[in-house]
Structure formats: structure tokens, C-alpha cells
Symmetry: C2
Subunit: 253 residues, 2 copies
């Protein structure tokens, strides 16, 4: 038994295994999105992933393990997509600055640029929350409420998740009034709203209503947030108490 970590990354078998697991979890996401948690049987996952029953049960000894790992990957993706999209916002801000320099009115994307908070919210809705992965995560969140086994496994991760999401976004935005703690709370409200909107997504009469809801909510919440100025961008003051290690993100427990 050599170091399993090393094996996972560098040996041929290790890469193969990781590919298989990722493939299966992707199938779980598709099934959750299309058929919900109740409709996501291992038969269905097996069918979508295109793997044998043996392969599936080999990698994931139980249905619960399957959902749990998928959930972990989805949570990581959500945080990652928030972090990686900083680049997108940076570009957006540049455009805003340029637009402001020469009469903003009829420059493409000027509306977004005018309110970066609103723009960020709308983009998050369109590309993260209301996506296949976002809807799959919704199914898992709701299932975790009543599935004891799932709750036991996922509850700690989920509890930490909200905080980590706020951490990720605090590099860019902060509260208009009050400290970072206030900003964390406000972004929490935003995520809560987005989750609620996702439930509505399928039974609202007109899809445009969703956009309307998003825009109205963004307009209401955005005065309470502002772009973090470059000056304090260097010291994001992430942590609650400020007494923790200044560098390095928390590890998922």
C-alpha cells in the first residue's frame, strides 16, 4: 500500500478511477436535475453514466455515498465559480470605467456596469444558480433536510459552505455601511433569495417574471453593498474574529 494520494494523481489506474468517479457524479447531477432526488435511483444513474452496475457499486458502496460525493463536488464547484469569476468582474469594472469616460448611455453593457452588485447577482443567477448543477444542488439541499444519513454526512460541509461563499465574494464587495460582518450577512440574504427563486423557476407562469424578480431584488439590496476599493482590497479581513491564521483558506473538514 503506497500513498493513495500519490497513486490517485500519478498512476494510470488512479487517473482512470478519478475519471470514472467524475463521470458517475456527473450522471447523478443530470439525474437530480431532470428527475429530482426521489427519481434518482442507482439504476437511473447507471443508465445515464453508461457504466455497469458493478462499476457503480464498486466506486460507491451505497446510494448515500454516491449523493454525498456528488454534493461535495457541487459545493466545491459553487465556491470555485465564485472565486474564478472575479476575473470577469474585473473586466466588467474596466468596461465600466471606460464607459464612464465617454458618456455611458449607449455603450453595450452599460446597464450592468452601472451597478456591479446587480450585475453580479444577475450573472450568478443565470450561470450558477439556475444551471443544471445549481438545480441538482437544490435537490440535495432539500433532501438533506429529511434524509438522516445524508444529513449526518453533509451537515458540517453545508454549514461551512455559506461562510466560505461569503469569504470568496468579500474580496470584491463589502458593505456600504458596517464592516465585513455586515457584508457577509447581506450576501447570505442574496444566496437565500436565489435559492428561493430557484424553487419558483418551474411553476411561474412567465419566465420573464424571474428576471423581474431578480432585478427588483438586486435594486433593493445593491445600495447596501459596494465595490471594495483597491486600497483595502489588499487586506480583505476575511475572518470573523480576525484572530485566525491570516493566510490560507479553511480546509473542508
Amino acid at each position: 500500500m503506497s500513498d493513495p494520494q500519490r497513486q490517485m494523481q500519478f498512476t494510470r489506474k488512479g487517473r482512470q478511477v478519478e475519471a470514472a468517479r467524475a463521470r458517475i457524479c456527473a450522471a447523478v447531477v443530470v439525474s437530480l436535475d431532470r428527475h429530482g432526488y426521489a427519481g434518482t435511483s442507482i439504476n437511473r444513474v447507471q443508465e445515464i453514466a453508461g457504466v455497469s452496475r458493478g462499476a457503480l457499486t464498486h466506486h460507491f458502496p451505497s446510494r448515500q455515498a454516491l449523493v454525498a460525493e456528488t454534493a461535495g463536488r457541487l459545493l466545491q464547484r459553487a465556491i470555485g465559480s465564485t472565486e474564478s469569476r472575479r476575473a470577469a468582474l474585473a473586466r466588467m469594472m474596466e468596461n465600466a470605467a471606460r464607459a464612464a469616460g465617454k458618456g455611458a448611455a449607449d455603450v453595450p453593457g452599460a446597464e450592468e456596469a452601472g451597478d456591479p452588485v446587480a450585475a453580479w447577482l444577475l450573472r450568478t443567477w443565470d450561470r450558477v444558480v439556475n444551471s443544471r448543477e445549481g438545480r441538482a444542488l437544490l435537490e440535495i439541499l432539500v433532501a438533506t433536510r429529511t434524509d438522516q444519513e445524508l444529513h449526518r454526512v453533509l451537515a458540517p460541509e453545508l454549514a461551512a459552505w455559506d461562510g466560505r461563499m461569503s469569504d470568496a465574494i468579500l474580496d470584491l464587495f463589502t458593505a456600504a455601511e458596517g464592516g465585513d460582518e455586515e457584508a457577509r450577512l447581506l450576501w447570505g440574504l442574496c444566496r437565500t433569495f436565489l435559492r428561493g427563486l430557484l424553487i419558483q423557476e418551474r411553476f411561474v407562469a412567465d419566465p420573464a417574471v424571474l428576471q423581474l424578480y431578480m432585478q427588483r431584488f438586486a435594486a433593493i439590496i445593491s445600495p447596501h453593498l459596494r465595490l471594495r476599493s483597491p486600497a483595502d482590497a489588499q487586506q480583505p479581513a476575511h475572518r470573523k474574529g480576525g484572530a485566525e491564521k491570516p493566510a490560507g483558506r479553511r480546509k473542508a473538514s
Copy 2:
């Protein structure tokens, strides 16, 4: 075959049937709350309701019919509880008036009275949304997203539901700026937020966080709403276009 409506209400058998159906649907609510949609089998419902398999299948030929009727009852309850709570708010407003008359600071309930919108939201959260029935409804809403049969049956009712909820509350509140249409939108945002918060309910580390979220959201949204003054309370101007029949509520289709 006499008039089934008459039979339902007045005959002995009719009352008995209605009692049985209500009893079974109540069991569905309990099961949805405790075990979720995936865990709500007809066996489980039978067990909780304490009825035989024959009785259950006699009243509800399929699982889908069972959930659909339960959903209908939950939606009606939600609207009803909004309407009936007008009385509560009226009392609250009286208290507020009295408190304002003699130095509001240390009168019990003064905080609530100070912001009727926030008070209404907090009460709705505690007594309607975060209740057994509210959580059961959440399960149904989410299940409706992926369960085709359920969606086919419930989608029209659900689509109309949001509007009816706003109608019910518009008798008491309206928008600070803009017409009733704006107020309907704002209340829609509130309900969306409440739904989102309900998902979070089980995996938030500290339950006090939920209260904090509620209070912060209420503080943000309440400046955009105000109590409807007695003057225009007589003409609530419910309908969107104003071109519909002036009296009588919409029937659930």
C-alpha cells in the same frame, strides 16, 4: 346520484368521508415534513394515518392524487392563514397606536408595532412558512419541479397561487412608492426569500442565524412597503389590469 355537494356536507356518510380524506392528507403532511417527498410512500402514509390500505386507495386511487389533494389543501391553508391574520395585524396596529400615544419605548411588543411590515414577515416565518405545513409545501414545490404528473396537475394552481397571496395581503399593505403592482412584486420577493430561508433551516449552524436573516431582510424590504391607509382600504384595487370583475375572488381552476 343526488347532488354530491349536498351529500358531502350534510349526510352522515359525507361527513365521514371528508373526515377520512382530511385525516389522510394530514398524514401526508406529517410524512412530507419528516421524511420528505422521496420518503413519503403510501405505506408510510397509511401507517401514520392509521387507516387500512383499502381505505387509502379507495379515497385516493393513486399516489399522485394523494399528493395533489394535499397540495391543494396546503395552498388553501396558506392563503387562508394570510387572510385570517388580518385580524391579528389590526390588533397589533391598535396596540401600536396606543403605545405611540404614551411613549413607545418600553411597551411590550413595541418593536413589532414600530415596523408592521417586519412584524408581519417575522410572524409569517414563524407560524406559516417554518411550520409542519410550510415544510411539507416546500417538499411538494420542489417535487413538482421534476415530477411530470404532479407538475401537470399542480402547475396552474401554483402559478395562480403567488398572485392570490399578494391579493390577500394587499388589503393591508401597499407600496411606499408605486402602485399596487409594485406592492405585489415586493411581496413576491418576500415569499421567495422565505422559501429560500426554509431550505437553509436544517443545515444552518445556529438557529439564531435564521432570525438574524429574517430581521435583516425585513429591515431592508420594509421601507419599500407601508400600511394601507384606511382611506384607500375600501378600494384595494386588487386586479392587475383593473378590467376584470370588480367583486369576487378568482376561482382555483
